[in-house]
Structure formats: C-alpha cells, structure tokens
Symmetry: C2
Subunit: 560 residues, 2 copies
C-alpha cells in the first residue's frame, strides 16, 4: 500500500498526557480510528487491518478448539428476551426498535436467547452434543457514559461463543478448553492475560471469569494473592474479616450524650479517638424496580461493594444509592441512619459479628448508642459478604491480598441451565430417551477493546509499537528524496515476496516520514535514500539499533 493513497493519514497536534486514554489519543492521531458519535467508531483502513488480524487470531484458536462459526441476526425478536426476563434485568442498556409493521426487536447485546432459539429448532439427541457455536457480530450497549476511546463503547464487534453440553461434567471440560484458548489468543497478540474470577452481571449462571490484561488505566479492579492461586474481581473477591478486639469483654448497651456535630466517620474518629472498625456504618440503597429501601450495615473500616450486595438480595443491576428524599421518606437524614428500627430491609456484612462493643447505630440529635453487639442488640435480615476487598486484607487461604487494575479483554461464563430451563423446548433427547435441558456456557471477546489494550501496553512517547502478529503491515518502507525508482523496485519486490508493506511515497520531509513511522508503529522500518546506496536501513520499532542490509537479507529476516 502506498501511504499517499491510504485513506486516513496521521493528524497533527500533541498527545495530551493525562487527558483520556493514551490508546485513544494514539489511535486517533495515527489515523486508525475516528469517532462517529460518542462510543461509536469508524475503523479506518489502517485500524481495520489491525482489527481483522485480531479477528483472525481469535477465529484460528476458536476453530482449533472445535468451535463452529455462524451468525445470528442483529435484530433479536424482543419476545425472546422476555422469555428469559432479560428485558428487565438488562433493560437498562438494551436498545429496542419497532419495524413499520409493529414488530419489536432488541439490538443484540449478547445472543444467548438467539442461539438457544435456533438450537431448539433442531431435534437434538445426545449424539449431537457437545458443540460450541460462535459469531463475530456487532453488539450494542446503551451505556450512559462512553468515554475512553475503544475501551468503553456503545457499539463494537464481539466474538461471542455458546457451548451446549449434556451435563456439568462435560461442560467443565469445555469451559477449561475455552480458558486455554483464551490464554493462547491473548498470548499470540502479545498480551499477558490473567483469568480472574468475576461477577456475571445480567448474563445469568453461577460463575464466570474475566481475562484481564494488567494496566494502571484499566477499569477492572481485582485482588490477587502473591502465589497467583487467587485472582478475583473486586465484585467477588472474598476475604477474612479480622477480629480486632476478640478479648474485650462484652459491655452493657448504653445511650450516651454525643455532640450534634458528630455525624460522619471522621467526626467519630475525632470525637472518640478510636479506630474506624469500632464504629457502625450504614449505607442506604433503593431498589429501582420495587422502590424498597435496603440498609447495608458494616464495620466502619469497610466499604460496601454494591454488586456483592445486589447478588446477596438477588437484585443485580437494580440498586441505586438513596437520595436525600429517600432518607426523608424513611424518617431520617444523612448521618442519622439507625442500624435497626427503620422500615427497611437490613442486610449486614459478615464483619458485623467481628467487633465487640460497637459505637453508633442509634444516632439522635445529641445522643448515640455505645457497646452495641450484633445478635444481642440488633440483627439484620441477612448477613452476607457485601464489603469491598482491599490491598492487604487477608485472602481465605491466609495470604495477604494485592490490589491490581487491568483491562478486561474477554470473559467466560458458566450459564448452566439458566437459559435452557427458562426457554421452552431447549432440550435434547438423552440416552435414556428422556428430554433434558442442555448445560450451557458462553464466551466473549471484545475486538476493539483488545486492540486498545494492546496499544495501552505497547507504546512509547513517539507512538504505537505493534506486536508483529497484529501490526497493520509488517514493513514501513520510507523512501527519501531522489530514490523514487529504486524505492518502487524494492516495494514491488517486497510485495512479490508476500510481505505486507506500507510505502511512504509522499513528497514530504524525512522528519515527517520518520515521525509518522514511529507514530504508526509498524514493526520494521526500512529506509531507502541516497545514503543507503544499494542497501536498506533496517530498524525495528521496538528497538534502537539500525543496520544497513541488502534486500535479500531483509527478505530472509522477514520470513523467519
């Protein structure tokens, strides 16, 4: 490809550090992508080449793992989503549309219902199982916020796979096979991914894992143990609650005077001079569906993890922090929420049982309670793990937790019987002649996000540094003034040898060409000029050294 003919060239202007993701800035500046509306992107020819190399690697590994590519329509009949109640659980980010005959559709976000619908149209027997079907297709998410370039978008190509097994035992083999395929996929792209236990959101099922590439800019926060035996997303990471004062004798419940200004955790510390674990803390939520008020109670040194809380009460995606109006309706106000007695559902964190003699729980204008003990003085309707894990907390196996951040590039879900029991006729005939629901899993990778993750990992001050496997071209041929004919000959020979080469044939300065070559990040830069005579200057984008070699040697090196 001649750069002069390429649609979508580099643009001027400095990269602004600290202003948005570096991957976003670099991909725009280098002419790989352009934003249409917020969260919806054009991939320009250069960007699409990278996208398609990522697709080819994923396809290769999926096919090797025995999965079969197919495609579902983008418009899903809405009644399928109603069959599984996902118009409610996923409604917040589901886009729907009517055609002119009044038929209603969802714009596909994930395709569990669609895949089950086509599968149930076949009369499957145990002989047809297992199988794993996947597609690359455009997915839609009606995100409220879409910032961060390709890392958080409203429309993107996803590889989504769905496995159908006779039972859990067979499924687990498939799940493991997919996990291995994912490691291979990301490894081939130069990404060192970790498989992190995660929350399954509105997908359904009992467990799932995210594949995360460690990066400071990542939105996924997860906890790990030093020996790598545990990787868990903050939404599911368990930890041991310490026992800060196990030997303290249980004291008598008391109401004491407390100045009116003592409302927040900071105020309590100032007034009592005691550590945070000593105080009771309450956070109030409202169920957006039912309007019910939920009060989450926990130890003062811990924070609520909303996702854990939602799972505890089976209200995924349904809780919002209470407003001042909600508190007024509850008969209280901020800083005065009681640990008992309000007309609300109380959910306590496991930590409530670890402290002897809490301070707080019944704050009034100038009084509060002390020596409060769970079980004796108050109880919740449920005790559960609803607190956020933090660096240094103790993992279930006794190791200290390390906090990490990363970019989620893929995920795998156990779905079990979630869809096959909700959807009528989602069965196979087993060896015993009986109809049974199949045991399912699903497996996603976002392609644009993976591309952005690669750039987050592989770049320097000058631009992108593509790993060979996903680079838009293998060679960036830079010809300087006065050698047009020789350059054309080298270009022709590289092409003839099957090398993907981008030739900067423009009439611009050497400085501009070198700058653009660094920005674009193609692995090998070949310079031809009057000074290189009958040789070429070879320089890898990921190295510093350059060497003068002849074309034959160039071809030999490229074919390694």
């Amino acid at each position: 490809m001649r750069y002069s003919k390429l649609f979508g060239k580099t643009s001027f202007g400095e990269i602004q550090k600290g202003s948005g993701f570096i991957s976003h800035q670099l991909l725009i500046k280098a002419g790989y992508v352009r934003e249409s509306t917020a969260g919806r992107y054009y991939f320009l020819p250069l960007g699409w080449r990278v996208h398609e190399k990522i697709r080819a690697i994923i396809k290769d590994e999926m096919d090797k793992a025995g999965a079969q590519e197919m495609i579902t329509p983008v418009l899903h009949p809405l009644q399928l989503w109603q069959e599984t109640n996902r118009t409610n659980t996923a409604g917040f980010e589901l886009m729907t549309i009517k055609d002119r005959r009044g038929a209603e559709f969802a714009l596909g976000g994930t395709a569990e219902e669609m895949m089950v619908d086509v599968v149930r149209g076949f009369q499957l027997s145990y002989r047809d199982l297992p199988f794993n079907i996947y597609q690359f297709s455009t997915k839609f998410r009606d995100e409220m916020r879409a910032r961060g370039g390709l890392l958080r978008v409203r429309e993107f190509v996803m590889k989504d796979a769905y496995s159908f097994d006779a039972d859990e035992e067979n499924f687990k083999r498939e799940y493991d096979k997919m996990a291995q395929a994912y490691y291979s996929i990301f490894r081939r792209m130069g990404l060192n991914s970790v498989m992190v236990e995660a929350d399954n959101g509105y997908i359904g099922g009992e467990y799932c894992h995210e594949f995360i590439v460690e990066s400071e800019v990542g939105e996924s926060r997860f906890l790990a143990t030093p020996d790598g035996s545990m990787y868990a997303h903050e939404d599911v990471a368990q930890f041991q609650r310490s026992l800060p004062n196990p030997d303290e004798p249980v004291k008598e419940f008391q109401i004491i005077d407390q100045p009116a200004w003592v409302k927040t955790m900071e105020d309590n510390e100032k007034h009592y001079g005691q550590p945070r674990w000593r105080y009771l803390k309450n956070v109030v939520y409202r169920h957006v569906g039912t309007g019910e008020i939920i009060i989450a109670g926990l130890r003062g040194d811990l924070d609520v993890n909303k996702t854990k809380l939602e799972h505890a009460i089976d209200a995924v995606g349904q809780l919002e922090e209470a407003t001042d109006d909600d508190l007024i309706r509850l008969g209280t106000q901020r800083g005065y929420v009681h640990s008992w007695g309000h007309p609300a559902r109380y959910i306590g964190d496991l930590s409530l049982t670890t402290v002897r003699n809490f301070i707080g729980g019944q704050k009034e204008e100038t009084t509060d309670s002390i020596n409060v003990n769970y079980g004796r003085d108050f109880t919740c309707s449920m005790l559960a793990d609803i607190a956020m894990a933090q660096e240094g907390y103790i993992a279930p196996d006794g190791q200290p937790l390390i906090e990490k951040r990363g970019i989620e590039v893929g995920n795998i879900f156990q779905l079990g019987y979630h869809y096959s029991t909700k959807m009528a006729g989602a069965v196979f005939v087993d060896q015993d002649g009986k109809e049974k629901p199949y045991y399912m899993g699903c497996y996603g990778i976002g392609l644009g996000r993976t591309m952005a993750a690669i750039v987050e990992i592989y770049h320097d001050d000058k631009g992108i540094i593509w790993p060979d496997a996903v680079a838009p071209f293998q060679v960036h041929l830079v010809s300087l003034a006065g050698v047009e004919e020789q350059a054309a000959e080298v270009y022709a020979q590289l092409n003839a040898a099957g090398i993907e080469v981008l030739w900067d044939d423009r009439e611009v300065s050497a400085g501009v060409k070198f700058g653009d070559a660094d920005l674009l990040g193609i692995p090998v830069r070949l310079v031809i000029s009057k000074r290189t005579k009958d040789k070429l200057e070879w320089k890898r984008r990921d190295g510093e050294a350059s060497e003068l070699i002849d074309l034959e040697t160039v071809l030999a090196k490229l074919k390694l």
Copy 2:
C-alpha cells in the same frame, strides 16, 4: 469437520416445487440457514462457510482494484440522513431508534452520508484523491414484504464501496474499474452476470447499473437487444414508439354516443373493434407526500412504468395508485377519467403524439369523444417516457427488444456531486488552491442474495451443486459401515494436506449418507467402504461418472 459434530444438519421432508424459491428450500433443508423472523436469517456453520468464501472473493477483487476496507458504525446519526433529505426519500424503509439520552439514529441501509462524514473530517487535497473505501456490514431495510429466502430480506451483509474522485473524468475510470471487478467477482463464483442500466432509486445521482444473473425466478425484469449492445432494466429501458397510422388524415373532434357499459380497454375493443393503440388510457396516482393527484396519459396498448413516471416528476418512491376515494375527490370514477379538465397534473407518455384520431378521453355516462389529437384537443403539463418496454418493441438503435428476467446481485452508482454538495465541507483542495466538492460513486453487493442466486443456478432434483470456489468444503468423505479406522486415517491425511473435508462419520445407512451428500452439494464425494478396499470412490457432484482411485491420486486431483 466431522458431520456428527456439525451444528445444523439436514432436515427431512420433500422439496415442494412451485412453493417459494428453490434456493430457499434447499438452503433450509440442507442446514445452511434458518429464518429467525421473516427476512432475518441465521447462517448456520455450513452456510456461514459459503458466505465467507463469497466475502473473501469480493474482498480479493476489491483489494486488487485498489479499494480499501474499513468499517462504519451500524447506528448512523439521524441528522446526517436529514442533511441529504434521505429521511424523506428513503424514509419508507429506514428504521430509526433513540438511545436513552434521546439521540436519534438510523439503522444503516446504505452508508453514503457516513462515509462522507468521516471523509470530510480530513483536510483532503487533490493529492489524496482518488480513493475508494468499502466495508462489509449488516444493512437494514424495513421491507413490507420479505418472502423468498435470502433473495428478499430485511437484514443482510452488504459489501458497499464509495469512491471519491476529483472530477467526472477520473470517476469514469473508477466506475469502469469497479464494473470489471464485479464481472470478475461473479465469474469466480460461477455466475454469468450482465451489467444492466438501471434506476437509481433513492440513492441519488444520474445513472447506475445492476449486475444481474439471468434466472426465470428473478425479480428484475430487463430488456436486451440481440447483439448485447443494450441491457436496460424495465424501469429505464427506452424504446421507439411506433407510428400506427401516420397517413390517416386528422379528423374533426367529436362527441358521440357510447353505451354506458364501455369502460375498460376490453370494452372499447369489443365495442369499436379497433386495436388498442387507438384508445386513450389514463392511470391515476397520488403523491404520498403532497397528496397531489397525477394523471398519467398514454396510448391504450402501453402500460405505465411507475418508476419512470416518478423520475419524470422528481417524486422517487412517492407515488401510489389512486384509490376509489381519490377518484371521488377528483370528481370522477374508474373508467371515467378524462384526459383533460380534472384538477390534477397531467403527465403524458411520448406515445400520445404518435396516434392520429384517438378514441376516448372524455367518457361520460353515455358519450365519449373521438378523433382526439394531442396538441390540438388536449395537452399535458409534460410529455415524457413513462411507459413500460416490452418484448418485441423497438430499441432506440432499431433492434427488437428481448425481455429477460434475473436476480440482481450487485449494483454500481454514479453519485456525482449529489452528496458532496448537500453535505457541508465535503470538499478537497484542488491544485488551484480552491475548495471543490468531490465526485462520488458507490458500489454494492449483497452477499446472502448472491449465495441464493448461486443455488438458483446450481442445483438439481437432489440438491445443491456448489461451484468449487464457494463450496463449504472441497470434499465430502462418506464412510460406510466397517471401515471406521481407515476412514479416520483418510480424513486425517486429507486434513493434513490442507483439504477442507466434511466427513460423514454417522452411524446411519449408506442411503441416508448419499442422499445428504447430494443435498449438501459439496463438489467431490469420496466414498470409503469394504468394497473400495484400499481405494476411494471419487465422484463429482456435477457429474455422473465415478472412479476408484487411491488417496495419492485423490490428493493430486484436488490440488490441481
């Protein structure tokens, strides 16, 4: 691929001749596709393999022609379609959607506006031109009727390309290059296409061509001359109006008695015993946008072509045949529409000037006019070519027209300045330093429709007969009972040699396997059984003869 593991197998039941398109029935029965909702299809793994081979051929030829693949978002900001007024002209089949922040989008049907929008974001100079950018993406059409399998759908993958040139002269070279690429694309798939002058619908621009594969079941009706110098869709095909009575003297206009039962063309023939060209004919339409009534007048032996009429009055897609109510509002009724005098716009066909002494034009209960002559007795606001061409009519060059039918598999459009002048900033800086709009073209191919067209052409009573280039597999290996081990070995060796092979490894009868092999239509069937000993029975699906050859010979033949 082992057939036992393939998702999407053949289904039972007879093909019903005459009930819908044979391609639809065969593709369903053989397990290539499944319908989701009317006009929206799943491509099962087998069907997707064919689809992707078609894609690869298109991509290869487009790239060879210098076009560059990229992608646009599926959701187009509606204001872009408003900028070019296509929310009105294409509104009837445009699907729109709002996100939860209230932003409005069109589901992409074609992408002219989107491509111009991304292109105008770059400061282009004449040095950047020409270029041609294309994508494969899902397109949406809110068709009222969607019957006929993949031939008329509401959602499909289209390859759409858009060229940007400095002027018409350069554009014409690109247009011709694309035409040649299209011939190559279809030829490689086994399709003999003809390039037919066509109507440009709501796309805009001045001329366009359809690539049509001749087929009796095709929806496209076109006219050709015996020497192939003219191929024109019925909506644009011109023809010479004969002069049936040039020597007849012009007679005096008269009102004469006419029985009340004489209303239709048939009634006239019965009553007067004159040929059809002798009578005046009027067809009434209503403009769906403005409500205006249009009366199309023409010679009695001709029919109106609505598309021609719409173009004549610049109302593409806007005319509907008048209802009885419309006629009442016009002060008349069916059979009584006058050739003058109604409060309507009269558009006459060129044929109105070819007859001396028409009968009709002022039908009342028991009278009508005769000896009516255009110009003397009535005129229209416009005379234009609004009549349908028919077999045997005379082409502009004097040859008799032949009527043909076919399936439209692709189209190419001159857009000229249609979009670049409607959309602000759609310019490049020319050599003289001035900003000028670019000259555009666009080029589409529907992939699923092409796949169906191939099946319409290539099938027999037993099933599909795929051309090699688009077959889902090259070889259909059929192993009969008792040779499982040898079959597995052959299967492994074929795979190792890079041959795409589908192995029917099921425990079913030879009859079922042979029937399915014929239905699936893979080019080469290889049978291994106790009778074939150390050889294989080779039979091509498109032939009758079979031969016993060894694996080495098989591999040699396949690699030819």
